[in-house]
């Protein structure tokens, strides 16, 4: 089963984290992800939500606004993909992600295109 693992960060908590250690752990984590095989792909880090741009088109009118999309403390900060047998292994990968200590990892099964 393929899952998109969505990283939500509390920017304040992240700023307080020991940066050198955190990014060293992230490097190891990404290396493990890349080694894990097909269907896995290393995480991409996103710039803070307030640097995002929100676009909505309604009845021919397009609104362009400054981010973030939702005004919450924890913001979408990155993602990675895994391909595992089930939720147990997905939770294990979430636990391995260094961000699980500072924010939350949302596990979302991917709807397969060829599914009925």
């Amino acid at each position: 089963m393929r899952y998109m693992m969505i990283i939500h960060h509390d920017d304040e908590a992240m700023a307080k984290a020991p940066q050198k250690e955190l990014w060293a752990e992230y490097a190891a984590f990404n290396q493990a992800l890349n080694k894990a095989g097909e269907g896995f792909s290393g995480g991409l880090r996103l710039s803070p939500g307030k640097q995002g741009t929100i676009v909505r088109s309604r009845a021919g009118k397009t609104d362009v606004l400054d981010g973030p999309y939702a005004d919450t403390r924890e913001q979408l900060a990155g993602y990675f993909f895994i391909d595992v047998d089930g939720i147990e292994q997905a939770v294990e990968w979430a636990n391995r992600c260094p961000s699980s200590k500072y924010g939350a990892i949302e596990i979302r099964p991917i709807v397969e295109q060829n599914a009925p």
Binding site: E25, Q31, A32, K35, E88, R96
Partner: protein, 411 residues
């Protein structure tokens, strides 16, 4: 109530719970129905005992009420002659149990065999046993197994439906099947223990380890002649004896070789040694006895000052012949490094170096990292330790490995 008294009360309640549920579910094979009936009986008890006093035989009282609920439920569902005959039989059986209140037959072993039946998905056997024998809730089990509560709830419901629909028998297998089927029960209990052992500092997990040991004792008491049941209980007790020694006062990870033997629980080790001796009386027969013997060789350090590495390697050879498990080969390599050096150990791992299962297996990279470091193969050690760090879920282990990797760069 003190913590100890509360636990003692819980144990008594749990002993009754599993016993009553096994008895109620044995004939109908309807575990969910029996659970409902028993829950209603406990609810009635909470209402009536405070007013009318606790009955002389609480178990018989609970059983009578639960049986009545169960027969009502069957009556509602079926009115056929077959149903009536069924109810007649259950009523007679209940009366027999009621007149001889101490003799509620213990069908827990049969229930465990049903829960660990080959038709039940392997991963659900342990949760099912925890729920039916101990009365743990789906929420508690989910917390210990680190999966969402709703998912665990659905899986438990499905597994119980499977017992009923596939007409899985509630009985103790015949002699020739017993060893295989018992292994499924032991594996389920050990899986629960392993969960409770790995998650450190987590209350739900620690409680799970306790429950697994309790179940291990139960199986030993119900099947006193089975050496593997004793072997598994011994294995759990050896591990349990070293529980607190795994972390130092700062919470940092301490590998087995570096553990302070004064922190090992001597009483549990002695109990494990006694069980292992009993299990081995007829010669070693199975995986759990051998794994317990390996633990025994490790803790020999208490007496001799160093683990008995030759025995550890020899025992892993036996285990490997029995299970052909890559994990056994990996652990053997760690022991082999002590007797023949890291190069020999690394060479012994060649056959599984390309095994896909090892790519995402943290202990593989951690062991490989340590062996390469000792063999002076720095670059390989660095890569393996990095992967082990990335695959760690435990904070203390991660920090330990990071320190090992730093030492590699400095040294």
């Amino acid at each position: 109530m003190t913590e100890a008294a509360r636990r003692a009360a819980e144990r008594v309640a749990r002993d009754s719970y599993g016993r009553l549920l096994a008895f109620l579910a044995a004939r109908t094979r309807d575990v969910a129905g029996a659970e409902d009936a028993l829950a209603e009986a406990f609810a009635s008890a909470l209402k009536s005992w405070p007013e009318q006093g606790v009955p002389a035989n609480p178990d018989a009282w609970l059983l009578t009420v639960a049986r009545r609920r169960q027969t009502d439920a069957i009556r509602r569902r079926q009115t056929s002659k077959a149903g009536e005959a069924h109810i007649q039989l259950m009523t007679e059986e209940l009366e027999a149990a009621g007149t001889q209140p101490d003799a509620i037959p213990d069908r827990r072993l049969a229930l465990m065999f049903a829960c660990a039946h080959p038709d039940i998905e392997a991963g659900m056997r342990a949760p099912l046993i925890l729920q039916t024998i101990l009365g743990l809730t789906a929420i508690d089990i989910a917390a210990a197994f680190l999966i969402p509560p709703a998912t665990m709830g659905q899986r438990l419901v499905r597994a119980k439906a499977r017992i009923k629909d596939a007409a899985i028998p509630f009985d103790i297998p015949e002699r020739e099947d017993l060893a295989d089927r018992l292994h499924a029960v032991l594996d389920a209990i050990y899986a629960a223990y392993a969960k409770g052992w790995t998650e450190i500092g987590d209350a739900a997990a620690e409680r799970l380890a306790d429950e697994a040991i309790w179940l291990g004792r139960l199986v030993v008491s119900l099947l006193p002649d089975e050496p593997e049941a004793k072997g598994m209980l011994a294995l759990m007790l050896y591990a349990e004896a070293r529980r607190t020694a795994r972390r130092d006062s700062d919470g940092a990870y301490v590998p087995l070789e570096a553990q302070d033997i004064n922190l090992w629980d001597e009483e549990q080790i002695m109990a494990a040694e006694a069980l292992l001796r009993e299990a081995n009386a007829g010669g070693p027969t199975g995986r759990y006895q051998i794994e317990a013997a390996i633990q025994s060789a490790h803790v020999a350090r208490r007496v001799t000052g160093r683990p008995n590495w030759d025995s550890v390697v020899a025992l892993y050879d036996v285990l490997l012949g029995l299970t052909h498990s890559p994990v056994a080969l990996l652990n053997r390599a760690a022991a082999l490094a002590e007797t023949e050096g890291p190069d020999a150990a690394l060479a012994s791992l060649e056959p599984i170096a390309g095994d896909r299962r090892m790519a995402g297996y943290q202990p593989w990279w951690a062991t490989r990292g340590h062996l390469c470091a000792r063999a002076g193969r720095k670059e390989e050690a660095f890569e393996a330790l990095t992967l082990a760090i990335g695959l760690s879920t435990d904070e203390a282990v991660r920090h330990y490995l990071i320190a090992q990797r730093t030492k590699l760069q400095d040294g």
